[in-house]
């Protein structure tokens, strides 16, 4: 099965208080941040790698971004992608539509049975990109996939609904799936693996090579400014022994009508 996995590079925001908004209020300060593959995309990649390991075929990792973004493609190569392509275009943050246009154009130029995207991104969290790409490609899709089993010419997928209910589909290929976290456990990418992946092909293309013009990529979303959400009320620390604090907490919850 030929697979394309779309990935995005995002800042590692595990320690929230290190995020600072720069004076322009149009971006965060990136100087001291470290970046990584978007969490959901890593699950999508792992899904793709496992599928490839089971069925053979090719796996191409793709992304749209400036040169620094090569590092996430290297990691994808280390995870098991055969090759990687970056479309060299610094997209306006949050403009999923333009990114979808680029990815759709790129995908059309490649062999594929299945396109896998993360269900959403950790930074802007739009959750739309995969679905838009599917529509543009005119292929069926399923979003928030938590289970996947390949069959002849199709895949059986499980989708997560509210309250833990699963929905199962069989989808004809080619198709696009957006992958939910928890579908698998993305493997660890060793530094040795990344070093070895330096030998694999990492191709850079311009939007022009895909027949895309600046007008076609004109942003449809405009970022006005970034700001932190207003702080909530102070948190309350409940002192005492575990028994005492449990009792206190119960009374607070009770008086709030929670139980």
């Amino acid at each position: 099965m030929d697979i394309i996995a779309c990935i995005k590079r995002i800042p590692d925001t595990s320690e929230a208080d290190t995020i600072k908004i720069d004076p322009s209020q149009m971006s965060i300060e990136k100087g001291s941040l470290v970046f990584k593959i978007n969490d959901w995309d890593e699950y999508a990649l792992e899904t793709a790698v496992q599928l490839k390991e089971r069925t053979g075929g090719s796996l191409i990792a793709v992304t749209v971004g400036p040169k620094e973004w090569d590092d996430v493609l290297r990691r994808a190569l280390a995870m098991g992608a055969d090759r990687a392509i970056r479309v060299d275009q610094d997209m306006v943050a949050a403009d999923c539509h333009s990114v979808a246009i680029v990815l759709a154009a790129l995908t059309r130029s490649l062999p594929y049975d299945l396109v896998l995207c993360g269900a959403q991104s950790e930074d802007f969290g739009c959750g739309q990109l995969g679905v838009m790409v599917a529509e543009m490609l005119g292929v069926p899709h399923a979003a928030l996939v938590v289970g996947l089993q390949e069959e002849e010419g199709k895949v059986r997928v499980d989708r997560e609904l509210e309250a833990g209910i699963l929905e199962s589909y069989t989808i004809e290929l080619p198709a696009l799936l957006t992958i939910q976290t928890g579908i698998n456990r993305p493997r660890y990418i060793s530094l040795g693996g990344i070093k070895r992946a330096m030998k694999k092909e990492l191709q850079v293309m311009s939007p022009g090579e895909l027949g895309l013009t600046a007008e076609m990529l004109a942003p449809q979303v405009k970022l006005e400014r970034l700001e932190f959400p207003p702080r909530g009320k102070e948190a309350v620390l409940i002192p005492g022994t575990p028994e005492e604090s449990a009792e206190h907490l119960a009374s607070i919850l009770q008086s709030a009508g929670i139980f």
Partner: protein, 393 residues
């Protein structure tokens, strides 16, 4: 990798599983392998791990999360190497480490190990905390940035970020200031020493950290290093030479001993306490230093140093080595090694459990709470005891 390509293919089958590795030196129980003490299934004994490694590499069993946890439950305490009478004993931990390296290469590590290693890759520490916060522990202490002083005081990840261990790092810094030692720290420029990364089998990441650290130390003109953590001490002392970094390195207990002997550190103020001392594996079994911390404690008037039955070569590991202070495969039970250890400490009648390692500090202090021994036993670092004697808070 197959067994044939495995570095220890010629030796790993030589383990008979006689079980010597489970005992301390005096044979008093079979609980001196921390993982075996915790689970009491043969799989978790040293021999179990070796047999499973061989079985995995020769395709008798498949990789599983459980297998990985069994391999990563080893704390690198080297009790097995101390007890095993056979010639290959010097390589027992290496055999585990090499199997882990294979898991790392295949990406097949438990989630907690993955997190640990990714955090070090990205942030230079296992916690995933920001690099720029690494030096915050030393604010308002008067401790200087390193710029060619006699000693580089290397703190390590735990001392830099763990709230409790930060206190230790500060106290030691102040003790060194009081003794007139010329030293500096790297602050936010410090990076992980890689000792645990190495133990977890991420060889390339370790290599990168070692090379970067060596380069940095050389650029700064570092001549002597003193470490807070025995783990850092071990990496610098034994592993960095391979990366062209042979720096004279002391564990801080060795420096404090020398300072006391030379009359530069006055501990005559004394302290009235019954103290028992827990040997950190990376100072004791890995580097044979059992005396320096005891000499420091014995030099303090009023301290009655009592030994636990398992001491020196027989020490039961706190359970935090080999990354387990973070990955915690041995936690969650009254048989967690740290809890067994503090119960043993309590039976000595000591009111202070002295440690010389920030990992032991965090593990044992948590265990004291879990055992409800707070009224009887306080965990203090040797440097903190010295600090107290000198009136340094």
């Amino acid at each position: 990798m197959t067994l044939a390509e495995y570095k220890y293919a010629d030796t790993i089958h030589r383990c008979f599983r006689c079980g010597y590795c489970k005992f301390p030196v005096n044979w008093m129980d079979v609980n001196n392998c921390p993982a075996y003490a915790r689970f009491r299934m043969e799989t978790y004994s040293c021999g179990g791990r070796l047999w499973l490694t061989k079985a995995w590499l020769s395709n008798e069993i498949d990789w599983s999360e459980h297998l990985a946890q069994i391999l990563y439950s080893c704390t690198a305490c080297k009790n097995c190497e101390e007890k095993c009478p056979l010639r290959f004993n010097v390589d027992i931990f290496n055999m585990i480490q090499a199997a882990r390296a294979e898991m790392v290469e295949r990406g097949l590590v438990p989630a907690a190990v993955k997190e640990f290693l990714e955090n070090v890759q990205r942030h230079g520490n296992p916690y995933g905390n920001a690099r720029e916060g690494r030096g915050e522990w030393s604010q308002e202490t008067g401790i200087e940035q390193y710029q060619g002083q006699d000693y580089l005081y290397y703190v390590g990840c735990v001392g830099s970020y763990d709230t409790r261990a930060q206190q230790t790092a500060r106290t030691l810094g102040k003790v060194l200031l009081r003794s007139g030692v010329s030293f500096g720290v790297l602050g936010s420029e410090e990076n992980c020493d890689g000792n645990e990364v190495n133990a977890l089998g991420e060889e390339t990441l370790f290599e990168m950290l070692a090379e970067e650290n060596v380069r940095k130390f050389k650029d700064l003109g570092v001549t002597n290093i003193v470490t807070l953590s025995p783990h850092s001490y071990n990496a610098f002392k034994n592993d960095y030479a391979k990366y062209d970094g042979s720096f004279p390195v002391l564990h801080y207990t060795q420096l404090l001993r020398d300072l006391i002997t030379d009359g530069k550190l006055d501990v005559s103020g004394g302290m009235n306490a019954r103290v028992t001392y827990h040997d950190p594996c990376f100072l004791g079994r890995w580097n044979g230093e059992y005396d320096a911390p005891r000499q420091v404690l014995s030099a303090i008037p009023g301290i009655e140093l009592v030994e636990m039955e398992k001491n020196r070569e027989s020490t039961l590991c706190c359970g935090g080595g080999g990354g387990n202070f973070y990955t915690d495969f041995l936690g969650g039970s009254e048989n967690s090694p740290a809890r067994i250890r503090v119960r043993e400490a309590a039976t000595t009648g000591a009111s202070v459990l002295a440690v010389a390692c920030p990992n032991c500090m965090t593990m044992l202090e948590d265990a004291v709470k879990a055992e409800g021994l707070e009224d009887k036993l306080v965990v203090k670092d040797v440097s903190e005891i010295v600090g107290e004697v000198c009136g340094i808070g």
